[in-house]
Subunit: 310 residues, 2 copies
């Protein structure tokens, strides 16, 4: 059973109550909190030594990454983050300086985005450090952008460049909060997600939730320099396009809008965010699944599998 | 540096914003969420295998405990819990049945208290399981009961019986949510905390936050049967009174009210919660610190130290 199958099985039976607008299964939960004009966003995410960072990763970057991942999920709902709580598991003989450096990195990013840190705890995890962050945020009533609203014919966009994040960007990425709020304010964004598991997988979540398919133009996918360098540097590395489609931790936005807005969106974006690339990578179809189109035709692309390229 | 010293050092410099009513340092954070008549409560807590439970603990009880600890913190603010997110760290070769059993225990307690589970994740922690829960709740505007409101002359009460929780109760305790809300509705509760680190330590937090001291009557402290049995069963076990004062994980409430309400409170409580003991254990003083009073006089009781009994 994969992680996704396990989550699907578990989430079927989760308790709900009258506060739940959107439960588990989107980038954040959306909850009623008694406010007339806004709804609460709620998200948790953890990073573990040896999985999401190494023993050598500077603790400032560990703390930064732990919060940035949650911020990216708030961005994917077009929301504004408010307050975080932090749990750190540490070896018994912990190093106070290390904890302070971790909080320094986390705190600096929190200040950048006006996020309060309002609690937390340190506990024991003898073999390795883990950092779990839970984050609340808010969004105007009914304004959260879900995964489920995409429509046949929509243009699919991604911000930035994809692939090769593990070479360094995964510790330094900028959560696209301002960009997502601007998008949702000025355009009718039908569906949005942040790219944590790779474009193929995460766009796949939009497709599944919205019951649509996609044709992706293989020469339109914005491949990062890091993915290209990795492919050049090693014969066993993924080809750059595959890396851009399946490497995790890009933390860029992927979203869909009605095709007629696409050109206006591109122009307005260029003016608003001249330094951040925005690329239309494909079009949603009624035929389910994902297809990669190149000069030889359209090829079904299933899941994250390297094998399907053969 | 102890955990408390580390936390104190870290919390001095945490980022805040305009949503923060009460930040780190109470049982929960209190936040503005745009609602006219209520405020948001926010808390996180983690349990780790080998620290808070053993490899043999049934996973249902692990899940239950992870949520119950957070619920107890919401109770300590006189709040109502709303929604939880859950992070589980598991060995790579995880057992799906185990995760489902953990969620079953957590979910059953959530349903009892009308708490929604709205997200979470499973991640890798190769050597041991950890479970981190973050919980939101709400409280009427300005109605959160803090640690800082206790006044000289107040009567100090505790619910239930104290000590020996590790013999089993720590996996099965009932968070005192209904009791705390009833208390805050019917009485002016000046300060409240849940007992996670032992009465001496946790009452100490109220004393420090409220800048008062306490005289505790040593023969009034309600010692649990488990603490008495442990003392009988082993010559190296803590004396029962010391266990009641310093064992952790009681998860009972400790609170203070003005002395003139004490008798009326005792009577009303007996009618409302006939099965749950409520005990007045002492009186707040202007002399800082905690003193234990017995027939031989008053003895300063510092921290959790066994040595101070000698």
């Amino acid at each position: 059973m994969t992680e996704f199958e396990l989550i699907a099985r578990l989430t079927q039976h989760l308790p709900r109550n009258e506060s739940v607008v959107v439960g588990a299964g989107d980038d954040c939960a959306v909850l009623e909190c008694g406010a007339p004009d806004r709804q609460l966003l709620f998200k948790t995410d953890a990073v573990v030594e040896g999985v999401h960072f190494t023993k050598d990763t500077p603790p400032e970057k560990v703390g930064r990454k732990a919060l940035a991942r949650c911020l990216s999920d708030i961005a994917a709902m077009a929301g504004t983050p408010d307050a975080a709580v932090v749990t750190i598991g540490l070896p018994r003989e912990y190093d106070v300086i290390l904890v302070e450096r971790l909080y320094a990195g986390l705190g600096a990013l929190a200040r950048e985005h006006n996020v309060a840190i309002v609690g937390g705890e340190t506990t024991t995890n003898p073999e390795r450090m883990f950092v779990s962050v839970a984050l609340t945020g808010h969004v105007g009533r009914g304004k959260a952008v879900l995964r489920a609203g995409a429509k046949v014919g929509d243009a699919v966009f991604v911000t930035g460049e994809l692939g090769g994040s593990l070479a360094g960007r995964h510790l330094e990425f900028e959560p696209r909060l301002a960009e997502a709020r601007w998008l949702a304010t000025h355009f009718k964004v039908h569906a949005m997600i942040d790219l944590s598991d790779g474009l193929a997988g995460d766009l796949g979540h939009i497709l599944k939730a919205s019951k649509v398919g996609v044709d992706v133009g293989s020469d339109t996918v914005p491949v990062s320099r890091a993915a290209k360098l990795a492919a050049k540097g090693s014969s066993t590395a993924k080809p750059p396009l595959l890396a851009a489609l399946t490497d995790g931790e890009d933390f860029e936005l992927c979203f869909t809008v009605a095709a007629p807005s696409a050109v206006r969106l591109k122009d307005a974006w260029k003016e608003q965010f001249p330094k951040l690339k925005l690329t239309c990578v494909g079009k949603l179809t009624s035929e389910l699944g994902m297809r990669l189109k190149d000069k030889y035709g359209a090829h079904a692309f299933k899941g994250n599998g390297y094998v399907h390229f053969a």
